[in-house]
């Protein structure tokens, strides 16, 4: 375990060196993400210029949920972005061979090899949103609020990451699965708004099938209102753990089925 942390540090160090070579490009990516988020928020602003509350949620509350959704999303984006490449390119081109000839866990190796500082664009938006919303909301605050938040972020990030691991692993059988990752990943956008605005079918899907609702709305609503911690927080923990277990299982099966490329 210690060794893996040490390796992680070394990979980050190497990554930062690479970053220095491509400063402008990374900056552009981050700027792009900020602009994308800003336009979404402008949209919310336009809505609230006409109505005082959206199905009982105030402007600040909506911004809080929106901002909250960006925490696990950006953490996953920052650390585990390389999984996209597994589904889009690494397996198809046979480049996964390399990871299998190394004496460390292949999934771990893929995960830590690359970092995506573009995610700082999302993080910045997240900080701005929460920085705006939190002082304007009377949030219940206890000694355990911060530790609980950390726990939620860890498990919510696991929901993102394990969905990506699972869909990336499909490529071990099909050679390419980036588009499947894309399809599932895009459902995360549903989590930016209160689930109560969706119809029953959508609610069921984002709660029980692709449980992105547990990455933002449920935990965020707990932090907003303090109600139903068992479902809101417990659900995130369970969803994160179950998905991760499933993801590891699929990944390991996939590695065994990996056929490499060429003759």
């Amino acid at each position: 375990m210690r060794r893996y942390f040490r390796l992680h540090r070394i990979f980050i160090k190497q990554y930062l060196k690479r970053l220095m070579e491509y400063k402008v490009d990374f900056l552009l990516g981050a700027v792009g993400l900020v602009i994308a988020q800003a336009i979404q928020i402008l949209f919310i602003g336009i809505i609230f210029s006409q109505i005082p509350k959206l199905q009982g949620w105030t402007f600040e509350e909506i911004l809080f949920i929106y901002g909250f959704s960006l925490i696990p999303k950006s953490v996953d984006h920052l650390f585990f972005d390389n999984l996209w490449m597994v589904g889009y390119r690494i397996v198809r081109k046979g480049d996964f061979d390399k990871y299998l000839t190394r004496p460390i866990n292949s999934l771990y190796h893929v995960l830590v090899e690359n970092f995506c500082v573009d995610a700082f664009g999302e993080m910045l938006t997240c900080i701005l949103l929460l920085g705006y919303a939190i002082p304007r909301l009377q949030l219940p605050f206890y000694w355990y609020t911060i530790p609980l938040l950390l726990v939620v972020v860890v498990f919510a990030t696991m929901i993102y990451t394990s969905l990506k691991i699972m869909t990336a692993a499909i490529s071990f059988w099909t050679k390419e699965s980036g588009h499947i990752t894309h399809m599932l990943y895009m459902t995360n956008d549903f989590s930016k708004y209160p689930v109560s605005i969706y119809n029953k079918a959508v609610q069921a899907v984002i709660t029980y099938v692709i449980p992105f609702a547990f990455t933002a709305y449920f935990p965020a609503s707990y932090f907003l209102t303090g109600s139903d911690p068992l479902f809101c927080i417990g659900g995130t923990v369970i969803a994160g753990s179950v998905l991760m277990a499933l993801a590891l299982f699929v990944w390991n099966r996939g590695v065994n089925a990996y056929e490499s490329a060429g003759s």
Partner: protein, 275 residues
């Protein structure tokens, strides 16, 4: 053989290749499409909540029905007019394989154009027609009236085609610019987000402050999505339709001219670098 006939004969294989490509990668295509259309559905639910939370039946002049039609037709128009020849141009410039295109006896951008058109033909069958039918079925279900206007639809199709051509040349220009920025992902994200916003595909231009909306209306971006969608919805009078489509044609000519200029300077640049 007449020159027109010869022209189509030269580029027909590209169209066929474009069609086959889409069919061959259909699974990827479907997954990609589902991922993309998700945002339109999220918007739909958000608007539904907005109308439920509002005392009035209209939001800045749009009813829920208008809003739904707007959302999905804007998505569809954005989808149909999307052009990513830019990516290929950029990559080919960077890896130098563009030289191979320059020695072939056919126009470089026409190859891309006809290949994408092949793609679009398949998209019309499997995306465009079902989505228009779906939108009209929804309109019928909500209003119990057939709201489909063949004349508007005809102008919409024409306007969307011009919008596609503008988008194509705009992206060719962008592709040449890729020569200068190496991170296509970051710049493309910026470009697409901005175009989505400025063209009214994300938020109807009518919702923006009046001054800003007036400016955006005459910029080329409105020609990409907002104009065709408003035509589809019957929001424009015949006079306005002609005026806005005239503007579209104007921007198309500007983009074509610009792409020519950029192409010429890129060729010069290439020959200096020795390809």
């Amino acid at each position: 053989m007449s020159p027109v006939k010869r022209f189509f004969r030269t580029y027909k294989p590209f169209t066929r290749a474009g069609m086959q490509e889409l069919v061959a990668y259909r699974a990827n295509f479907v997954c990609f499409f589902i991922g993309e259309i998700m945002s339109a559905f999220i918007m739909y639910f958000v608007w539904k909540a907005v109308f439920l939370s509002s005392d009035s039946d209209t939001f800045m002049g749009f009813t829920m029905e208008d809003m739904t039609v707007y959302l999905f037709i804007a998505f569809l128009t954005g989808y149909m007019t999307y052009s990513d020849g830019a990516f290929s141009v950029g990559e080919e410039i960077i890896d130098g394989s563009i030289a191979m295109r320059m020695i072939r006896p056919c126009s470089f951008e026409m190859c891309f154009l006809f290949k994408e058109l092949g793609n679009r033909i398949v998209s019309i069958a499997i995306i465009f027609v079902p989505m228009v039918l779906g939108v009209e079925a929804y309109r019928y279900a909500v209003t119990v009236m057939i709201r489909f206007d063949p004349l508007c639809f005809l102008f919409y199709v024409l306007s969307t085609f011009i919008a596609y051509m503008i988008s194509f040349y705009f992206n060719v220009i962008y592709g040449f610019m890729a020569f200068f920025f190496k991170n296509l992902w970051g710049t493309t994200l910026i470009k697409e987000t901005l175009v989505g916003f400025l063209s009214g595909a994300t938020i109807p231009l009518a919702f923006l402050p009046a001054g800003l909306a007036a400016v955006l209306n005459v910029l080329p971006f409105a020609s990409l999505a907002y104009t065709p969608v408003m035509i589809y919805m019957g929001m424009y009078s015949i006079g306005e339709i002609f005026a806005y489509m005239g503007l579209q044609v104007f921007w198309l000519l500007v983009m074509m001219g610009l792409s020519k200029l950029v192409w010429n300077s890129a060729v010069k640049h290439l020959s200096i670098q020795g390809g």
